[in-house]
């Protein structure tokens, strides 16, 4: 679900298209945008406090003759939330799980790649300290 929360809407659509034909999905409740209050910890590791809210899109579906699927994603993309919920439902199906995982692998690789780029770019700005030779020695 962590990968599905980070996938682009277009990626989710492409995955669903690839996994098709799919059973019809009906909404358990209409997809909805709401807020989640994010929290921090005093001093980073202490007692919690309320930091501020974030928008979240959620969806819950049931596949015809199959499992229920849920999705919660930061942002307001209801279409992406519904697509993620369908994927979640497909993942519940043992017969389809491997195919879903395989389709998500590309997204997982993209995310890992982006994180690696951030780390490499940040590491290039790491300060190398050196000690100047002092004259009196």
């Amino acid at each position: 679900m962590a990968v599905m929360a980070r996938a682009e809407s277009t990626e989710l659509d492409a995955i669903l298209a690839r996994l098709g034909p799919l059973p019809a999905a009906s909404n358990l409740k209409p997809p909805e945008v709401g807020l989640v209050m994010l929290r921090g910890r005093t001093g980073g590791d202490g007692a919690p406090f309320n930091l501020g809210e974030a928008t979240v899109a959620r969806a819950a579906v049931r596949l015809e003759g199959g499992a229920a699927g849920f999705a919660y994603r930061l942002g307001r993309d209801l279409k992406a939330a519904r697509a993620a919920a369908i994927l979640d439902a497909l993942w519940q199906d043992e017969a389809r799980r491997a195919a879903v995982e395989e389709a998500l692998a590309a997204v997982r690789a993209r995310l890992a790649d982006e994180a690696a780029t951030v780390r490499a770019e940040t590491a290039a700005t790491k300060v190398d300290f050196f000690t100047l030779v002092r004259g009196e020695d």
Partner: protein, 375 residues
């Protein structure tokens, strides 16, 4: 006599149409897109998210555009929008030690584990205007160089980056953070605040407080109004994961990541007959890359702890009710700017009053003159 007046609908309608025209600017220029604002005016967007107290990059970019770059107006728009949405619940506290770090510096330790990572910073720039930025725009050229950044070869694997306060804490040199006793923190968006308040309420209030206001108050503590001798133990900025336990699922799910800036200030000592002297600390945590704000927040947060740490009160930044009641720029701008709205009746009353006072004054003066002449 009280006369109710009505009118101005047409003028208001036309004013708003004119506002829309001015916002758009010259029609022969392309309109600025939300993606451009989000990508190229990132720090304005971050500030709107932080003080609007709502993490949503696209919405914040829209607010910046609609407000013609007036960030307080944009923050106001975001605050108004958030009231239209239902609350799904509370996320688990963000774990900043697990951050995908984009910048991390310490002013207290040169060689700390993980190192000093400057990241995308204005620090060490010469503050000279770069005219090439304007030229690139005019020629409508893509500035290739700006998109390129050096990458270190050996940095793909995550590096552990302990917080400086953890390093100091191992030796007992700094006070610990207040422990999590499992109780729910107060939420200022759900219940009215009455003073005095606890530390978590202060942090929530400061996290959405005005950057300029907190900067001025933080500055005042450095200049001697509530001195607390701060060091920047650490400032870090990057991506952290949001974990939420959805009520209908009954288990934790990851919602994605948000960017935050965290600042730990290390301040002068407290000790007593029973405890050895220790450094004290202030804390700042803000949405987006808002370093000035996170640092100012840590300074003010520390100053507000004077009573708990047995310090002398008296400085503006130590006055909890004053600091917290005035740090919200939406509240402040609402009350200050309402002065522009019609006050015709109030003013009429005052005009009437001052005329009467002047008449009485004139009368008493004349009476005094007459008396003098008679004598």
């Amino acid at each position: 006599m009280y006369v109710a007046a009505k009118g101005g609908e047409k003028a208001i309608r036309n004013a708003h149409a004119l506002l829309a025209k001015r916002r758009r600017g010259k029609k022969n220029l392309p309109a600025i897109s939300l993606a451009q604002i989000a990508q190229q005016l990132t720090l304005a967007v971050d500030r709107v998210m932080a003080e609007g107290s709502l993490y949503d990059v696209e919405l914040a970019a829209l607010a910046v555009k609609q407000a013609r770059g007036d960030l307080i107006e944009a923050i106001f728009l975001i605050r108004a929008f958030r009231t239209t949405l239902p609350r799904f619940g509370y996320a688990q506290a963000l774990d900043t030690s697990e951050m995908l770090v984009r910048r991390r510096v310490s002013a207290t330790y040169k060689d700390l584990p993980g190192g000093q990572l400057l990241g995308p910073t204005f620090d060490y720039t010469h503050r000279l205007l770069d005219t090439s930025l304007g030229l690139a725009d005019e020629a409508d050229e893509v500035d290739d160089q700006a998109g390129e950044a050096k990458q270190a070869d050996d940095a793909a694997a995550p590096v552990s980056m302990p917080r400086v306060t953890d390093l100091l804490g191992q030796e007992g040199l700094i006070e610990g953070a207040p422990t999590d006793d499992g109780s729910e923190p107060f939420d200022i968006t759900r219940a009215p605040v009455s003073f005095p308040v606890d530390r978590s309420t202060r942090l929530q209030t400061l996290a959405r407080g005005d950057e300029g206001y907190l900067l001025a108050l933080g500055y005042s503590t450095q200049r001697g109004y509530g001195r607390s001798h701060p060091f920047v133990g650490e400032i870090r900025f990057g991506d952290v994961e949001v974990i939420f336990e959805a009520p209908e699922l009954g288990f934790e799910v990851s919602l994605g990541t948000v960017q935050v800036t965290e600042c730990q200030s290390v301040n002068q000592f407290k000790g007593s007959a029973t405890t050895a002297p220790q450094f004290t600390r202030g804390y700042g945590l803000v949405f987006g890359q808002c370093e000035r704000k996170a640092l100012s927040m840590a300074l003010v947060e520390r100053a507000l702890r004077w009573e708990e740490l047995g310090e002398e009160p008296g400085a503006p930044a130590q006055d909890e009710e004053f600091v917290l009641s005035h740090c919200d720029n939406v509240q402040a701008t609402g009350f200050v700017e309402h002065l522009k709205l019609p006050h015709y009746v109030d003013f009429q009353a005052e005009l009437d009053l001052v005329r009467r006072m002047r008449a009485e004054h004139e009368e008493s003066r004349r009476a005094a003159d007459m008396k003098e002449a008679a004598e």
